[in-house]
Symmetry: D3
């Protein structure tokens, strides 16, 4: 049977929810205060889950130090203390909702994790609003 291992990381970023194909009125109606053109921000908590067999030699599914470095390089170095809309390339064309940020993080991490390991990402935008990709079984 497989084990899931989880690593929690953290980044602080500014963002804005805005669909450029809509009028200002429609953006305001749908996104409300999240549409502020001068941005607002969050302390994002990121939990990365890796599912796989335990290596009997190390007792590890994956080395947590290695996983932490991969997250640092692929995500935190480009997201932390940044403006997601203006400084993270994927959000030039995708709205940086929590859902989309989680998917983008998953797509950045997937090629860095060995294929036999399953990957999921949970992203806390606030303590009360969070998302998981992919959703559980």
């Amino acid at each position: 049977m497989k084990v899931s291992v989880f690593r929690k990381e953290h980044f602080n970023a500014a963002h804005r929810l805005f669909n450029p194909s809509w009028t200002d009125e429609k953006n305001q109606e749908v996104f409300g205060k999240c549409n502020n053109p001068k941005y607002h921000g969050h302390n994002y908590d990121l939990v990365v889950e890796i599912k796989g067999e335990v290596d009997p030699e190390t007792g590890y599914v994956i080395d947590m130090g290695l996983l932490s470095k991969i997250i640092q390089r692929c995500v935190l170095d480009e997201f932390d203390h940044r403006n997601l809309n203006e400084e993270v390339v994927e959000f030039k064309s995708i709205i940086p909702t929590a859902e989309n940020i989680a998917i983008v993080i998953w797509e950045r991490l997937r090629p860095e994790i060995e294929k036999h390991l399953e990957l999921s990402v949970t992203l806390y935008e606030t303590e009360r609003n969070f998302v998981r990709f992919p959703a559980n079984g």
Copy 2:
């Protein structure tokens, strides 16, 4: 692939565990101090999970503000600062254990959520005792 989104809400309520078809002795034996006829209470934390596809126009699975309002109307307005046994209609005939409260909340929310979206409810009675309905995969 689907995304899960989670919204955390909160209510404070009194309750008592008691099966009216049993003797007082049996109630005391099974429910112990939770059987106190004068009630005790909890700060309940409620996490509602909605699973579905991300709408490419909004970047949302569901509008969290809308979800919060549904929870407010269907659950919090009738549970918060109430006596669950005496003031919530379902618990006239069901014991308000955490398991049953979670099921009742799920049944209240299910008709309010679009059919193509999956719903689950996690209820924290205390930090150390919590339940999820339906159970994962």
Copy 3:
């Protein structure tokens, strides 16, 4: 210089805010939903602080196990899974607001703690509403 040591405990109770010398209307106006005659409840977190010199033989200000037993006997045994208004003697004549509960707990603990040690009590009614007695400085 002195050290403060803190012990965190927990109890679940029902209560109601109500001043019997007032009309129902005034009670409702002042206490709102906290005035529900059928009660509501909370998970109370209690942090007891003891301030004193460190005993060089033990490295302790006070034995935390002993402190925990004192709190259990003087507070938890009578507050946990109880209705504060109806089952705790002090609240026959005092309204069980967080402020008054903290003062009552302090008065129950003070005679049990050696005189040269200072005592304060922090009570969390919810994560967002809490009180400390006596106030700092």
Copy 4:
């Protein structure tokens, strides 16, 4: 003896640390990644402490609902989902460090709280960096 009561609130905002009287190099050297001209952001947790005597009629130092409304009106309505540097008037001329944000919040709340009550403000910029104004005794 006095009681302290605490109310926890929350806001999400963007900010940037920058001293306009310095060169870009000096700003970068002192503020590092917090100096990003495109902003970053935080989930700020705000704990407001009011110290005073308990009113024997209500059992309250202050009505928490009233306190929450004052914080909403004086702070959250202008800080939440905003860019502190560009949209909050005080930060036109003061750098929005956690220290200064706490002082500005205190100055906004002080005139709204009755004079015989003492006020302090604790602001969490992240779980690991927080400030209190005024500092304890």
Copy 5:
């Protein structure tokens, strides 16, 4: 449909990561500071999940008090305030990584839980490193 119920417990222990079939150099390379021969330690948080049908007579999947006693007897009595490598029999031959500790706890609890109930174990080694066995779906 089934409900999951969760019980959170806690233990404090010392451990060391070390593979006796490897050289000291290889152990240091793989396990780094976790390989310290004089041990280090953790506050482990343990969440036990039981999945099953709700008993209509009690409203319970399982009596949480009973579950807590089983965890106390099978796990905490032998793990709490102990050196896992030297004092817990399974870790004479298995490296006490979080993954392996979770599997060992699962194996100890499984025979004590009725067969029709499903069991999983989540173990927090720190707030940022945690594991689940078996992995979800």
Copy 6:
């Protein structure tokens, strides 16, 4: 008026409570399971408070990055993933209770912090047992 700034750090260590001038029986009687000769361990959370005036040029009481580096060098580099009794020099002659660990950390940090700034240390041994040195007011 002064501001307090707080920085939270973390270390994991093994320890044992033991007074070498006592018999084994007395050690067992006073320290109970904390006296286990094979050690146990904790995830220690450390909160360092610095109290001072805000520098009008930076908006800082102290640069949090600098404070974090001082804590890393003076405390974490020697405490993290270590056996406090055997590997930290002060605990050759002092019992590593939470009280004494907090005092030792304060003594290590005090010479590194500018004289006009006040220093205090809060150490969480577990979520339920914690200490502060020096005690408030």
